[in-house]
Each structure stands twice: as C-alpha cells, then as structure tokens.
C-alpha cells in the first residue's frame, strides 16, 4: 500500500510526464520516443537546434497536435482523462497568433471571451504585467516584434494557467524586454507556483531562469539534467599543457588535486582550486615538469550544448 501511495505522490509531483512520445510526419520522426518529466512549480528549459522537435513536442503537450504514439500524463493523469487538463495550459508557440487589425486589448478580450472570463480590469492587469498597459488601444499591426511577443505572453497567461508553455518567448525582445520577461517568469514561478516549459536559443538567458534542462536533438531527448548537474558539467577548470603528463599526474596528486582528467597525452584538466593557478605553476616547475601553457578555461553553456548536439 505504501508503495502505491509513494508511486502516486511521485506521479503527482510531475505536471508533465511523457513516455515514449513520438510524432511522425510522413517518413520524418519529428519527435522520437521522448520521455520527459516536468516537476510542479519548476521552470523547465528546453534546448535544441532549429528543427530538433521542440515546437512539435510543445504542441503535443498543449493539445494542438496529436502524438503518433506514446503517452502524455498531465497533472498526474494520463490517457483521455489528461485531455481535460489542456484547459489548464497556456501557450505561446512559434509566433504569437494575433489579429493585426485589432488592438492589444481587443485581442486579449477575444481570448478572455473564449475562456469565459468576464472579470473587470482583468485584461488591463495582464497587459500591465507584460508592460503593455500604455499600448492597449494601439493596433497590433503597429506593434514591434517584441511588443507582439509580450502580447503573446499575456494571451498565454489569460485564464491563470497552471502550466505555461513558451516557445522562444524572448525572440525579438531588447535586453530590457528580456530582463522584464525573465522577472515576470520568476514572479509567476515564486508567487503563483506556476510550472513553465520554455525554449530559447539564448542559452545564457535560459540558464538564468530554468531549474531543469532538457536537450533535444533530431527528435530525441539526449539529456535531462538539473541546474546543479549542469553547473557541474559547465564549471571552470584549469587546463595544463605539458609535454609529459605521466610525470605531471603524481605531482598534481601530491598537491591534493584529485578531481582531474587526462584529456590527451599532453593535456590535463583540473577541476578543483581554479583560483590557485599561480601556486600550481610554481609547484610543477619545482618538480621539473615542463609546463607549456596553463590557463583557466570557462566551459560555457553554449559550448557544452554544441558539444552535445554535434553530429
């Protein structure tokens, strides 16, 4: 019995839990057997190249597209029952879907009408949240790309969804706009306990908000890792180029560096005490190890993902 309760609690902690989710267009497997888990209240960063399958996956989760095979559990419920929870998902997928001839407020009013929201001042509040309060009467055709993105986010937020799916939401935004959206997402997470699935090409920006990362490549989810795990993989290290690694390794051990890796016959990476690079240089010289170069390398997030998705 306790096992069953534990299992149920485990299921309930995931807002989105997919098993072998697959979407095939003709002969092309756009999403291939993806099993992804998004915990309640977290921001999940979805990373992948163009055409990797991010948008298709997001469409399937938000109910815009039917999977070819596999299962999606939403809020702990799977099968036909899960479809009921699509109403709890707000989305902004690809470009914001807006009527250009209508104002921001009218566009938002349409969405509110469809959802049966008749609260006074609700639309103004949403527009204020995304920084469009002053542009509510302006026609969408006069909007910049960034303003359209903001309105798209406001549309996604209509109806106070429990899960927000945002596909490249900061596309076209200026640095100030990006920062505002970042703050908004964090506010939604901390104040409203909203779960957010977000994809972005600006990895550094994604890193600032996401708690968990999923990397998709050619339709396959190749890695799912927490921010801590990512930090481990992307931390700074000292790169030693030496003619004789066999001689250098015992010296390094003697100096108390145990977390290191011999990359090639003349290259060693040290992951501890990065700040003590000068001392390390001196000690290696003292022990007669010829050091060709010694530098602190920052393994950037971008390089890490490029490495992961290299063909």
């Amino acid at each position: 019995m306790f096992d069953k309760i534990a299992e149920k609690e485990d299921i309930m902690k995931y807002v989105v839990d997919t098993h072998g989710l697959t979407k095939i267009f003709g002969k092309h497997r756009a999403v291939d057997c993806v099993s992804l888990h998004i915990k309640r209240g977290e921001i999940y960063g979805f990373i992948g190249k163009n055409g990797a399958g991010k948008t298709t996956f997001m469409k399937m989760v938000s109910g815009l597209s039917a999977p070819t095979s596999g299962e999606i559990a939403l809020f702990g419920v799977s099968g036909r029952e899960a479809e009921k929870y699509h109403s709890r998902i707000g989305n902004l997928i690809e470009q914001p879907g807006l009527y250009e001839g209508m104002s921001a407020k009218e566009n938002l009013h349409l969405k509110c009408l469809a959802l049966g929201i008749h609260e006074k001042g609700y639309e103004e509040k949403l527009l204020g949240d995304v920084g469009l309060r002053d542009a509510k009467k302006k026609k969408v055709k006069q909007f910049s790309l960034g303003m359209k993105q903001r309105l798209g986010i406001a549309m996604a937020l209509a109806g106070r969804p429990d899960l927000l799916i945002l596909d490249e939401p900061v596309n076209g935004l200026d640095p100030q706009g990006i920062a505002e959206i970042r703050d908004l997402l964090l506010k939604l997470k901390f104040e409203k306990n909203m779960t957010i699935l977000i994809s972005s090409h600006i990895l550094e920006e994604l890193y600032k908000v996401a708690d968990t990362f999923g990397v998709i490549h050619k339709g396959v989810l190749i890695q799912e890792l927490s921010k801590e795990e990512l930090d481990q993989k992307c931390r700074d290290y000292t790169e030693i180029k030496t003619g004789d690694t066999e001689k250098a390794c015992p010296v390094i051990e003697e100096l108390g560096y145990h977390n290191y890796k011999v990359i090639t016959a003349d290259c060693i990476h040290l992951y501890d005490r990065v700040a003590e690079i000068g001392k390390l240089n001196m000690e290696l010289a003292k022990q007669g190890c010829m050091v060709e170069s010694l530098q602190v390398v920052q393994d950037k997030l971008e390089e890490y993902f490029l490495e992961l998705t290299r063909d």
Binding site: L64, S65, L98, G101, K111, G159
Partner: protein, 288 residues
C-alpha cells in the same frame, strides 16, 4: 460553447472587412434598384405604346440571347401582364440570382480564414475541450452574418425602391406577405447556410482565401450547376435537383410549397453534412 460563440460574434463585429462587404452589398443593391427603375420605365413605355405586349417578352428575348452562358443577372421579375412586380418578387429575384451569395461568400471566406492565417487558433484550440466546437461556433456566427445580410439587403432594397418609385409603386403588405416572405427567407437562409458551409470547409481545409473565394464565386455563377446538368445527361440521373446552388437559383415567389420544403431539406441536409465534415477535420487535424 457559448463562450466560443460570444468570441466569434465579437470578432465578427470588430472585423472591418466584413462590414465593408456588407456596405458593398448595400451599395450594389441600391445600384440594382436604380437599374430596375430604368427597366420599369421601359416596360411602362412598351405597355403604353402597346409594342411587345409585356416586359416579359423583352426579358425572355434577352434571356434566350444569353442562354448557355454563366453569370449572375439581376433582372426585373417576369410578369405576364406587364404589371409592376411586388417588393417580395424583387427581393426574391435578387436572392435567387446568387448576387447576395457572392458577397456573403467573400465575407465568409475572409472570416473563416482569418483565424487560421493569423494563428489565433493556436491560442484557443489547446484549451478547448472539443475542437469541433470551434468550427460549430464559427458556423453559428456565420448564421448571424447571413441573417444580417439578408435583412440588410431587404431593408436597403425596400427603401431604395420606395425612394425611386414611391409615386408609381404600391407596396403590398399583410398576413400573406409576411407568411410568404418568412417561408422564402427560411428556405434561402438554409440554402445559403449550406452553400457557405461548403465554402467554409474548403477554405478551412485548403487554408486559402483565394481558393475559397474562387470556388464560391464560380459556384454562385452557376459553373457547378452546369457540371450537375452535364452529369444528369451523362448518367441519366437528376443530380441537379439535389444541388444547393440549383435550388437557390430555382426559388421563386409562388413556387409550390413542396418544392420550397424540398429546397429547405437540401439546405438543412448539406449544412449538417458540411458541419460534420468540418468537425471531424478540426478534431483530427493538428493545429499549425
């Protein structure tokens, strides 16, 4: 469902192009009425000079000349005795000619494709439990548009004729008029609904305004009726009788009730068929 209908009606009211289409239709109606007055003057002259007996002869002559071609012609309704036709006959004649259908077709295609083209559908499709309701709500909004158009055309035609012919014209009202107008309007409403249902379906599936308008106009001009007639000859069947557009063109004041009810049946049946096809398409097809 009610929320979706509200949303569609709100969008309809806010879509300028739909108002422009109605405005153009009203302008055309006024123009057609002014042409009618010229025809009526001609008819009166013929009557006075006792030339050809009646306008009907002139009309028939013209009709014979253009027989076999396609197109829409808004004509003064045929009267054997040279008498000025009633308002209902004028109104019915224009509705049966398919000219109102052309305007409605343009509006309907713009309206249906707007949601797909703008991508707005993505905002609501996921959160709507039964996607078929999206199509149904649009069909219902379209019903309102058809009603508005039919009433507007009637009102504009009434006032235009009254303004242009007030001293020569007698408007016959009364119980019989209302009853007959009601039956004919109902038949036209159902036939128009079916016709536009088909056009909406084509527009939704092909996601093309051009394809929808072209097909709609060609159908209203009678191209499909010709295919129907050709199929009738070839297969020795009576396919034309069951075609929506043939029934539209075949409606006239004083038609046998049986024929009017048959036309209503055709309209209702095709409306349901097109709705079901649209509902299946919306349910099964991914939103892109």
């Amino acid at each position: 469902m009610l929320n979706l209908i509200r949303m569609n009606l709100y969008r309809m009211a806010k879509t300028k192009s739909l108002w422009i289409v109605l405005l153009c239709m009203a302008a055309f109606c006024t123009f057609a009425c002014s042409m009618v007055t010229i025809d009526l003057e001609e008819m009166q002259k013929n009557k006075e000079n006792n030339l050809s007996g009646s306008f009907a002869a002139v009309y028939k002559e013209e009709e014979e000349e253009t027989a076999g071609g396609f197109g829409i012609s808004v004509q003064v309704p045929e009267k054997e005795d040279g008498e000025i036709p009633t308002f209902l006959e004028f109104y019915n004649s224009d509705l049966a000619s398919g000219i109102v259908l052309v305007f409605l077709c343009i509006g309907c295609v713009i309206y249906f494709n707007g949601e797909i083209k703008s991508g707005f559908l993505k905002n609501i499709a996921g959160q709507t439990r039964h996607k078929s309701n999206i199509f149904l709500s649009k069909i219902i909004a379209n019903m309102v548009y058809i009603l508005v158009a039919l009433l507007l055309y009637g009102v504009v035609q009434f006032f235009s004729l009254w303004f242009m012919l007030k001293d020569k014209y007698t408007f016959r009202f009364g119980g019989e008029f209302i009853k007959e107008t009601g039956v004919l309007l109902m038949a036209f409403f159902l036939l128009y609904l079916a016709f536009l249902g088909g056009i909406s379906l084509v527009t939704t599936v092909l996601k093309s305004t051009a394809a929808g308008i072209t097909l709609g106009m060609l159908s209203a001009f009678g191209v499909l009726s010709s295919f129907g007639a050709y199929a009738d000859k070839l297969l020795h069947v009576n396919l034309s009788k069951y075609m929506v557009i043939t029934n539209v063109h075949g409606m006239f004041v004083g038609a046998v009730r049986k024929d009017i009810f048959f036309a209503m049946g055709v309209g209702a049946l095709f409306s349901v068929i097109y709705y079901l096809l649209g509902a299946v398409y919306f349910t099964k097809k991914d939103v892109v």
